[in-house]
């Protein structure tokens, strides 16, 4: 996966920026004409991580790879794919790291169990307090 990424970056940096964008990523800085589709694309883009930058989504970055990924997302949305299909495809290719929305797996379920644990903990601690209080 890393080799692939490195190759991609090499390709990207070899071509002059502006010309390359026109050719390989026509939708990096161009919105889709259909507002509903553009909104769907935007909602997906803010939830995808820019792999080259640090801690930014592809909707928040000037990095070339973010532009390529934006273009890819818009093109596929325009072609009728659903955001989930595109996300799955990207995760297949770049790993779970690319999505800001963790999938529920055997490794990530504690993230989603946490709110329940916290609520249970609070109830447990407080129930004892109020129970004792209501006795007299």
């Amino acid at each position: 996966m890393r080799a692939l990424l490195a190759l991609l970056m090499l390709m990207v940096s070899a071509v002059p920026l502006a010309a390359q964008e026109e050719q390989t990523a026509p939708y990096a800085y161009r919105q889709l004409d259909d507002p509903a589709k553009e909104e769907a694309a935007h909602d997906l883009m803010v939830a995808l991580r820019c792999l080259q930058c640090q801690g930014q989504s592809i909707a928040d970055s000037d990095a070339p790879i973010a532009g390529s990924m934006r273009s890819l997302v818009r093109e596929r949305i325009a072609a009728g794919e659903t955001p989930d299909q595109i996300r799955d495809w990207l995760m297949e290719r770049y790993g779970d790291y690319v999505s800001y929305e963790p999938r529920i797996t055997s490794l990530t379920w504690p993230l989603f169990a946490l709110p329940l644990v916290l609520i249970a903990l609070a109830v447990l601690l407080l129930r004892r307090r109020f129970a004792r209080e209501s006795k007299p």
Binding site: Q31, Q54, D60, I119
Partner: protein
């Protein structure tokens, strides 16, 4: 010379901290009692010495003394003076010196003015403060000496990261550090009170203004940092749930919870162990935050602070201080009873809900921020971002807001909802109207919907505690609460509105082209080169017209710095009462013939500025509360001294 002078001051301060720790601890015993008189003066002198060291570093940077390694690495003679000075803390060593300076100045300040606590608790507190400082002195002097000289003086320095060459960011770290490190006072107070077992209303009253002070700076620091990210990163985002942002949010959440539980302790002598625990947790979060930022263990937008080796040193400090404090807490918690009881419907219970919710959000932010490290141990890299934090946080945030509307109206100890039902009719009606209006007139997503529906009702509910009061005689602290809660409603409205109603427009324009975005019409007049002291830029001249109003010129720039070479975008913001127009100039697309077209990014963000106005209001509420509380305490102390003086005279 200046550098050596600063280093000597720093070593002296470290020695004094060691003395302060020993003298403070011994003074608690019977035989060491005579040492008690030395502890406060030593704390003050220690604070002054670190201040001298910090001023020395600023002088070295202001004069661009390139024989000092730190200056050569991070400064440049061609930089404007203000950024030379700000460069002193725009790097690892300097920011750690700032940390130590703030810490020992805060300790010195407490030693100088704090008279509300029993002297034994004060001695333990100051010893605790010295103990924590010592670790950071060791870190600074052993592994990150800011005054190190170079054997060969370079001709020119490397320069400062251009992203940091911005007035907002120049003053963002010091503000945040005042908050981060100010919480060390709460930590030391908690330790002091645990050691002498003096946890009670007096302890809470003494600690509260210090926590408030730190919390005000944290609030302002986070608000300013968010605004900086908003206009400097050039994509209109204002919060990214980035590890470093989370690092500043976590101490804020803990400090906010601490403020509320301290008020229960001060007024009702309840939640004693919990309040002490929060005092420990708040500063622990500051240290964890520093660890996350300084070690670079988590990749982040703020990667200029990365340094893996030093991380292990801070990790060691973390283990000693947090672990030690928790052990002490475990040993003493049994002897600190929970205190007075209260009914399920009471002011205390509302504040307990606030504490539970804030702690739970803190838990989610901490867990979500660190969890990628756990999965990495299993060879899977995952990202936890906004799609996780927003809904998970909302699970606790929304109920907390509902309780916020009711809580300040309830009486201490025991109350009934029937009594406050009538008062809450207006906010409830506003909530209903907002929900209906949103359902009819717009389709927004769940979270912005909740925010937009709740914000107006919350704004009104936050003012209700003033009802029926003589406004001039209302205590300042009550005004503080009202203003801060109102600020929450304002910020919430801004966040929800930004997320629900923002319009984005990406266009390629030739000079002379016009485009529309929301209610605006924007015309690109020209793109011209301009130059600054250490950068050149392309500047777009655009004329923006709101509906049929007159045009205003905005000038977004794409800047190129040459030392170090880096591109930044300077967005142009046009603020109206109902929102901001946000314009960014991107690259040029060459055309087959004739002039090329410019990538222009435009956003219309209705009411976005409310986010930061809200943040400022929250901090203002804190300022009012701190003035009110301190003023009444000073009056009480003066009155007490007068009585003592009269008694003494009459007795004679």
């Amino acid at each position: 010379m200046t550098a050596e002078f600063g280093l000597a001051a720093l070593w002296l301060a470290a020695a004094l901290a060691a003395f302060q720790l020993i003298a403070g601890s011994l003074a608690l015993t019977e035989r060491g009692a005579p040492l008690a008189g030395a502890v406060r003066p030593v704390a003050v002198v220690q604070g002054l010495l670190t201040l001298i060291a910090f001023v020395a570093l600023i002088l070295v940077f202001a004069n661009t003394d390139l024989s000092v390694k730190l200056v050569a690495m991070n400064s440049h003679s061609m930089k404007p003076l203000i950024f030379k000075i700000a460069g002193a803390w725009g790097n690892h060593e300097g920011s750690m010196l700032l940390w130590v300076t703030v810490m020992s100045l805060a300790g010195g300040f407490v030693a100088l003015v704090e008279r509300r606590l029993p002297e034994r608790t004060m001695l333990a507190t100051l010893a605790g403060q010295a103990f924590v400082s010592l670790g950071f002195y060791a870190f600074l002097l052993i592994s990150s000496n800011p005054f190190e000289r170079l054997p060969v003086v370079p001709v020119e320095g490397n320069g400062l990261n251009p992203l940091l060459q911005d007035l907002g960011l120049a003053f963002h770290p010091p503000t945040l550090y005042l908050g981060y490190v100010g919480l060390s006072i709460a930590f030391s107070f908690a330790i002091g009170a645990l050691i002498t077992r003096e946890v009670g209303p007096a302890f809470a009253r003494a600690m509260r203004p210090w926590v408030l002070g730190a919390w005000i700076f944290l609030t302002l620091g986070i608000t300013a940092g968010s605004y900086w990210a908003y206009y400097e990163l050039g994509w209109g985002g204002w919060w990214f749930w980035d590890p470093v942002e989370n690092a500043s949010l976590m101490p804020w959440l803990a400090a906010t919870a601490l403020l509320h539980s301290a008020s229960v302790l001060a007024s009702r002598n309840a939640l004693r162990a919990w309040t002490v625990m929060l005092g420990v947790v708040a500063f622990s979060m500051s240290m964890i935050g520093t660890f996350l930022v300084r070690s670079g263990i988590l990749t982040s937008v703020h990667a200029f602070a990365v340094d893996p080796e030093r991380g292990s040193f801070i990790l060691g400090l973390l283990a000693i201080y947090i672990g030690g404090a928790l052990v002490l807490f475990g040993l003493r918690a049994g002897t600190v009873t929970e205190g007075q009881r209260f009914a399920p419907v009471s002011r205390e219970s509302a504040l307990v809900v606030n504490n539970v919710a804030l702690s739970a959000i803190l838990g989610i932010v901490l867990f979500g921020t660190l969890y990628p490290l756990v999965t990495e141990a299993f060879d899977t890299k995952v990202s936890v971002g906004p799609p996780y934090f927003n809904p998970m946080g909302a699970i606790f945030f929304i109920p907390m807001l509902l309780v916020l509307a009711v809580g300040p109206l309830l009486r201490w100890r025991r109350d009934s909802l029937g009594r406050v039902r009538k008062i809450l009719l207006i906010p409830a009606a506003v909530l209903a109207v907002a929900v209906v209006a949103l359902l009819i007139f717009s389709d927004v997503k769940v979270l912005p919907f909740l925010g937009l529906a709740l914000a107006p009702a919350l704004a009104i509910a936050s003012l209700v505690p003033l009802r029926g009061r003589n406004l001039r005689r209302t205590p300042l602290a009550t005004w503080g609460m009202v203003v801060a809660h109102f600020g929450i409603a304002v910020a919430l409205f801004g966040m929800a509105s930004e997320s629900a109603f923002s319009v984005e427009r990406l266009v390629a324009m030739r000079a002379g082209d016009s485009t529309e975005i929301g209610p605006w019409k924007v015309r690109l007049e020209a793109v011209e080169p301009v130059a600054g002291p250490n950068w050149t830029a392309l500047e777009a001249r655009m004329v923006a017209r709101y509906e049929s109003g007159s045009g205003t010129t905005i000038l977004p720039q794409a800047r190129s710095f040459w030392s170090p070479p880096q591109q930044t975008t300077e967005s142009a913001l046009l603020t109206r009462w109902n929102g901001q127009l946000y314009a960014v100039l991107g690259g040029e697309t060459p055309a087959a013939s004739g002039p090329g077209r410019w990538q222009v990014r435009l956003w219309w963000k209705p009411f976005v500025s409310m986010i930061w106005y809200g943040g400022v209001l929250i901090a203002l509420g804190g300022v009012l509360a701190v003035i009110g509380r301190t003023w009444s305490d000073v009056k009480r102390i003066v009155a007490r001294d007068k009585i003592a003086y009269r008694r003494e005279r009459q007795g004679r």
